[in-house]
C-alpha cells in the first residue's frame, strides 16, 4: 500500500502542483464553509440541508491540502480512500479523476461525503489537526463535491472489473456493509447477488437516514453503479426465512457475507411506554423515509405530533427530531440523560438541529408516561440528572438528582436509545458464534465467522455503528473472502 501511495505521489503532475504554491500560502487559506439552506425554510421541507460546494469553493479548499509525505488522513479512513490523490485531482481541475479515485476504494462516495463523521476520522487525522493545531482540510465536503460532480456530469465511471471467475457469492442485506462488500467482490470478478428483506434497496441508507441529509436519488445512483458492475439485487427475500442457508449452498454460492444490520430497536421498559404515540426511532423513520408517510398520497400513516420529544442523543435521534419538525411539530425536543458534550451525534447534526429550533433537554431522563382515556400519550415525567464520575466508556456517568423531577406535555415520543442486532440470521443460521448481545462473532482482521465460508460485518457485528465503519467491514471481508476462495 505504501509503495502504491509513494508511486502515486511522485507522478509528475502531483510534483508540479506541490511546487506551484508554498505551504505557507496553502495553510493561510481559510477553510471553506458548507452552504446551507436557511433554517426557517428547510425546517418545512425535505430538501437537502447542505447544498454542496461550488466549483470555485472546492478548488480553493483543495489548495489547503499539503499533499503530505505521510498522509495520515488515509489511516483515519475506514476504507482507506487515497485522499491526497483525489484532492489534488480537484486542485488541477480533473474532477472526474477525483471521483474515480474515490471509487477505487469506496463503493458509495456520494453517501460517505454526506453522512461520514469525517471530523472523527480522516479530518481528525489530517496534518492540520494533528500538527498545525488548525481546522483540517474539508475532506468530507470535497469528497461530496467530486462524487456529485461526476453524477451531474452524466459521465459516471464504472470501476475496472476483473474477468468473471465463475464463483458465486451471496450478500445478506443491501445496507452499507453489504454494498461495499458487493462492490469489491464484483471488481474481483465474482458473481454477486445481494438479498434484501425490504421492498427497496439501501438498508439504513433508505429507511433510516432522512432525505434532508441523504436524498434517496443519491442512494439510487450509487446502487445503479453497482448494478452496472454486474451486482444482482433481489428484494423481498429474507435469508433464513424465504431461503435458507442450505438453499444458498445448494444454489452454488461459495461464500456468504452477512450484513443484516441492527434492526431491533431498544426500548427503555418504563411505565406507559406502549401508549399510542410512543414509538421507536426505527418505526418513525421507516414510516417517513421508506414508506413516504407524511406525503398525502402515501397509504402509510404516521403521527404528526405538535409537542414531540425524542429520547436520545445520537445521529438517529437528531434525524428523528428534525423530521418531526418538518412534519409540523411546534415544539420538538431532544431529551438526553447526559450533557451535550457526551452526545454521540455529529456536531454538524446538533448544530443543524439547533438552527431549526429544536430544544435540548440535556441531563433529563424519562421515568414514565401518562396518557388520556384513549391511550394516547399526554405527558412524561422527567428525572433531572447530573454528571458523576466517568464510566467505562470514559464519559461522565449521569446520576439522578434525588427529588428533582419535571412533567413535560407531549403528544408524541420517539425512543432513540440504540438498536440491537437483527435476530433473524443468528436464529436461523447454524455454525455461527453469537454473543449474548446477539452480535455475530468474527475474526476482527478477516471478518470471518466461526463458519469459514460465512463472513459478517456492519451493525450485525458491531451492534450499532456508522455507515463508514460498516463499509470498512464489507471491504475487509471482501479482501479476506477473496483470499480464502482463491486458495
Amino acid at each position: 500500500m505504501n509503495e502504491y501511495l509513494k508511486a502515486e505521489r511522485s507522478v509528475a503532475w502531483r510534483e508540479e502542483l506541490r511546487k506551484s504554491m508554498k505551504n505557507k500560502d496553502r495553510t493561510a487559506i481559510t477553510r471553506v464553509e458548507m452552504p446551507e439552506v436557511d433554517p426557517s425554510i428547510r425546517s418545512h421541507n425535505y430538501d437537502e440541508v447542505n447544498l454542496g460546494l461550488t466549483e470555485e469553493m472546492a478548488v480553493t479548499e483543495s489548495h489547503r491540502c499539503l499533499d503530505c509525505v505521510d498522509p495520515t488522513c488515509i489511516s483515519g479512513c475506514p476504507v482507506e480512500i487515497n485522499i491526497p490523490k483525489f484532492i489534488k485531482n480537484i486542485e488541477r481541475g480533473e474532477y472526474l479523476e477525483a471521483a474515480k479515485t474515490l471509487k477505487e476504494t469506496s463503493a458509495l462516495p456520494a453517501v460517505c461525503g454526506r453522512v461520514c463523521p469525517q471530523e472523527r476520522q480522516c479530518e481528525n487525522s489530517c496534518f492540520y489537526t494533528q500538527k498545525l493545531n488548525k481546522v483540517p482540510v474539508a475532506i468530507g465536503h470535497l469528497e461530496r463535491f467530486a462524487a456529485d460532480y461526476e453524477r451531474k456530469s452524466g459521465n459516471i465511471s464504472i470501476p475496472e472489473i476483473a474477468s468473471p471467475n465463475g464463483k458465486k457469492v451471496a450478500v445478506v442485506g443491501s445496507g452499507p456493509a453489504g454494498l461495499a462488500f458487493a462492490g469489491d467482490m464484483a471488481k474481483l470478478g465474482y458473481d454477486v447477488t445481494v438479498f434484501e428483506a425490504l421492498h427497496e434497496l439501501g438498508g439504513v441508507l433508505r429507511y433510516g437516514i432522512p432525505e434532508f441529509r441523504l436524498p434517496n436519488d443519491i442512494v439510487d445512483v450509487e446502487i445503479d453503479g453497482l448494478s452496472k458492475m454486474g451486482v444482482k439485487f433481489e428484494t423481498n427475500i429474507i435469508v433464513g426465512k424465504t431461503i435458507s442457508q442450505e438453499d444458498l449452498k445448494k444454489a452454488g454460492f461459495k461464500g456468504i457475507f452477512v450484513g443484516s444490520g441492527a434492526g431491533l430497536p431498544n426500548f427503555m421498559n418504563i411505565p406507559g411506554e406502549n401508549l399510542i404515540g410512543i414509538m421507536s426511532c426505527n418505526e418513525y423513520l421507516t414510516r417517513v423515509n421508506l414508506m413516504g408517510a407524511g406525503d398525502p398520497e402515501s397509504d402509510t400513516p404516521v403521527y404528526m405530533g405538535k409537542k414531540v420529544a425524542v429520547i436520545g442523543g445520537g445521529n438517529t435521534a437528531m434525524d428523528a427530531v428534525r423530521t418531526a419538525r418538518r412534519l409540523g411539530a411546534e415544539r420538538a425536543v431532544i431529551v438526553y440523560r447526559r450533557s451535550e458534550a457526551e452526545m454521540p451525534a455529529r456536531i454538524e447534526e446538533i448544530k443543524h438541529a439547533k438552527e431549526e429550533g429544536i430544544e435540548f433537554y440535556t441531563l433529563h431522563n424519562p421515568l414514565r408516561y401518562e396518557g388520556d382515556e384513549r391511550g394516547r400519550v399526554q405527558k412524561m415525567l422527567l428525572q433531572r440528572m447530573e454528571l458523576g464520575e466517568p464510566d467505562q466508556s470514559g464519559r461522565r456517568r449521569p446520576v439522578p438528582i434525588e427529588g428533582a423531577t419535571d412533567w413535560m406535555d407531549v403528544d408524541e415520543v420517539i425512543v432513540s436509545v440504540g438498536v440491537s442486532p437483527n435476530p433473524l440470521i443468528p436464529q436461523t443460521f447454524t455454525g455461527l458464534e453469537v454473543t449474548s448481545w446477539g452480535t455475530i462473532v468474527v475474526n476482527n482482521d478477516t471478518m470471518q465467522t466461526a463458519d469459514d465460508l460465512i463472513y459478517a460485518g456492519g451493525d450485525i457485528v458491531r451492534g450499532g455503528a456508522t455507515v463508514i465503519l460498516a463499509m470498512g467491514d464489507g471491504r475487509k471481508a471482501a479482501k479476506s473472502m477473496h483470499e480464502h476462495l482463491s486458495k
Partner: protein, 260 residues
C-alpha cells in the same frame, strides 16, 4: 411482484386469493404470515398464510375488506400482480400431540386457523373446531375445516346457522363436556380476549395468534409490540402466537386503534 392465480369471494367482504410465491410456499409452516404491499404508495400489511401448494408454487391468503389497503388488495384480479410480498414471517405454530385441541376461529380468523387445524390433526390430536361469525354468510371455509376436524361447532350471533351464540358459548360447552388439553384461538382481538378469559377460568392452556399493526415485519420497528407476562414482545418475531392468558389484550385493543 407476485401474480394472482385465482380469486374467490368467500362472503361479501372476504376474498380468497391464490398467489404465485414458490419460495414462500416451500418454506412456510402453519402459523406463518406474509407482508403484502399493493402499489407504489401502498402500505405494508401482514396477512397470515391460509395454505400453500408447493407443487403449484402458490400460497393462499384470505383477506377481509376492512380498510384502504385491504380494499386495494381485494380490487386485484387474477393475472394481476401484488407489488411486493415477503415471508414467511413469524414463528411457526408449535405442533405436537396434545390430546384434545379446540380451535376457536372467528370471522376471517378461520382462514389462518385452517393450516393449524390440519397440522394438529396430522399430529394425532382430537380436533374440535368452533367457527363463529355474526351470521350464516360470514361462516367461511366450513367444508375445509370439516375435512381435518373430529367435530365442528358452528356459532352465529343471530342463530341463522349452527347454534345461536358467541364463540365462547361454543367453546365453553366443549370444555364442560370433555377434557380439553389446548385451545387455539384466532379472530378479532376482542374475541380472543374473551376466549382467553373463558379458558383461563377452566385452566385450559390457550394460544392466541395476534394480528397487530406492523411495518417491516422483521423486528425492525416495534410497531407490533404487545405486553405478554408483563414484558414487551414483538408480535412479528416473538409471535405471532402467544400464551393467551399472559397477553394484555386491553393494551393490544388500545394500540390497534392507533391510527383510527
Amino acid at each position: 411482484m407476485n401474480k394472482i392465480i385465482s380469486k374467490e369471494y368467500l362472503s361479501e367482504k372476504v376474498v380468497r386469493f391464490e398467489v404465485e410465491a414458490p419460495l414462500i410456499a416451500r418454506s412456510r409452516k402453519a402459523g406463518h404470515f406474509v407482508i403484502v404491499r399493493v402499489g407504489k404508495k401502498g402500505e405494508r400489511v401482514p396477512y397470515t398464510i391460509a395454505s400453500a401448494d408447493t407443487k403449484k408454487g402458490t400460497i393462499t391468503l384470505v383477506v377481509q375488506r376492512v380498510g384502504k389497503s385491504s380494499e386495494k388488495l381485494c380490487s386485484l384480479e387474477p393475472g394481476e400482480y401484488i407489488t411486493d410480498m415477503v415471508g414467511p414471517l413469524g414463528k411457526a405454530t408449535h405442533i405436537e400431540n396434545f390430546g384434545t385441541v379446540v380451535c376457536a376461529g372467528g370471522g376471517v380468523g378461520v382462514a389462518p386457523m385452517l393450516p393449524i387445524i390440519e397440522a394438529m390433526k396430522n399430529a394425532g390430536n382430537r380436533v374440535i373446531s368452533v367457527l363463529a361469525a355474526r351470521t350464516k354468510e360470514l361462516i367461511i371455509l366450513e367444508e375445509q375445516v370439516r375435512q381435518f376436524s373430529d367435530e365442528v361447532v358452528i356459532m352465529t350471533d343471530d342463530g341463522s346457522y349452527g347454534e345461536k351464540g358467541l364463540v365462547t358459548d361454543g367453546v365453553e360447552k366443549v370444555i364442560q363436556r370433555e377434557k380439553v388439553d389446548l385451545c387455539v384461538t384466532i379472530g378479532p382481538a376482542i374475541m380472543m380476549k374473551f376466549v382467553s378469559k373463558l379458558t383461563g377460568k377452566y385452566n385450559v392452556p390457550t394460544v392466541a395468534s395476534l394480528n397487530t399493526i406492523m411495518v417491516d415485519g422483521t423486528g425492525m420497528c416495534g410497531a407490533c409490540r404487545v405486553t405478554v407476562d408483563g414484558k414487551t414482545k414483538f408480535v412479528c418475531i416473538d409471535g405471532p402466537e402467544f400464551d393467551a392468558h399472559k397477553v394484555d389484550f386491553d393494551e393490544m385493543l388500545m394500540r390497534l386503534k392507533a391510527y383510527n
